[in-house]
């Protein structure tokens, strides 16, 4: 009995590790990029490390470099953070059920719900055959966070000269989203949700431009989804 449960535990851990490999690639490369940018702006390793641990949001950390360097007001800092990270509200809403009974560490899971961790945990088929879901959630979340911390810190430490040519490796994150998107698309007959996300985001990108399209497209997406639910209530 003991060995049986050990075996399934090892199976879950191995699976979690394998699932996070694409994130490892992307986070190490992007994190190092971040650490190097910070270093070049006069913010040393300790700053990169602290941001990786306590902010843990890639796009926002890059935006923060400019805010710090220009000495932006705290009001601007708060509003920029809201605008860049508002999409995380969506992740919370779709993980409410899954994270409900995850015990005392639940708030760590919630804190560490980045784009990438979310994309590894949000699909139904992501958990097929997983024995201990809570263990799986934690392993994926902690590994991803560790990759990011390692990348950001290493970027601060490494000298520009001993870097190998990593240009383009950050495409791993785009590829991760494309691949999860494809999996979701194959997994359901009704492509309404996927299409809504793509079309709303594309439309808003064209109308509002790349710096401002995220929040309008979130609002539009919710609006379209709610309208859809009202018209075909059986699905809601």
């Amino acid at each position: 009995m003991q060995t049986e449960s050990n075996k399934t535990r090892t199976g879950d851990l191995a699976r979690a590790f394998k699932a996070t490999l694409p994130v490892m690639t992307g986070y190490l490369v992007l994190g190092m990029g971040f650490g190097i940018v910070m270093q070049s702006c006069g913010y040393g390793t300790l700053w990169s490390f602290a941001e990786a641990v306590f902010i843990y949001a890639g796009a926002m950390q890059f935006a923060a470099v400019e805010l710090l360097r220009s000495g932006a007001s705290l009001m601007t800092v708060a509003l920029t953070t809201l605008a860049v990270n508002a999409r995380h509200l969506f992740y919370g809403i779709s993980m409410l059920e899954r994270y409900r009974d995850t015990g005392r560490g639940k708030w760590y899971l919630v804190f560490s719900l980045t784009d990438e961790t979310y994309s590894l945990l949000c699909s139904d088929d992501a958990l097929d055959g997983v024995q201990n879901k809570t263990l799986y959630y934690f392993t994926v979340s902690i590994l991803d966070h560790l990759y990011w911390i390692t990348g950001c810190t290493a970027g601060g430490l490494l000298d520009q000269l001993i870097r190998f040519e990593t240009t383009g490796a950050d495409f791993a994150l785009t590829a991760l989203f494309v691949s999860v998107f494809t999996g979701q698309w194959k997994g359901t007959k009704d492509h309404f949700y996927s299409l809504t996300g793509v079309i709303c985001a594309l439309g808003c990108l064209v109308i509002f431009g790349r710096d401002y399209f995220l929040i309008p497209s979130m609002i539009l997406t919710v609006f379209v989804l709610m309208l859809h639910a009202r018209r075909s209530p059986d699905e809601a």
Binding site: F54, H88, W107, C122, G168, F177, S179, Y193, G197, A236
Partner: protein
């Protein structure tokens, strides 16, 4: 220095607040409105579409290389996923090809 520390702390606090908010508001499972439960089911598909667009937002289609490497590699990643049903494998294939294209070809 003091301003920088405050700014980083503030970014951390706002980010944490955004991530915690749904779980604070809907702490009690009996109080989750139907519309939120519905959104919880509908959003994963919609969000992933949004994230794909978000990643491709910096491509300029009007200047060389016209987003060609990104589109080729995104298509290849999707194709590899359909072929093997393996996320890690398709990400590796797409990324390695992208690195080759961007470093050597374009």
């Amino acid at each position: 220095m003091k301003h920088d520390i405050l700014a980083v702390a503030l970014i951390s606090a706002v980010t944490i607040l955004i991530r915690f908010l749904p779980f604070i508001v809907f702490r009690d499972s009996t109080q989750v409105p139907e519309s939120i439960t519905y959104l919880g089911k509908a959003l994963p598909g919609a969000v992933m579409g949004m994230l794909v667009i978000y990643c491709l937002k910096d491509i300029s289609f009007l200047a060389p290389p016209y987003g060609i490497p990104e589109l080729i590699c995104a298509a290849l990643t999707a194709g590899a996923y359909l072929w093997k049903k393996d996320t890690s494998l398709s990400v590796v294939i797409g990324t390695v090809l992208y690195m080759i294209l961007i470093q050597k070809v374009f």
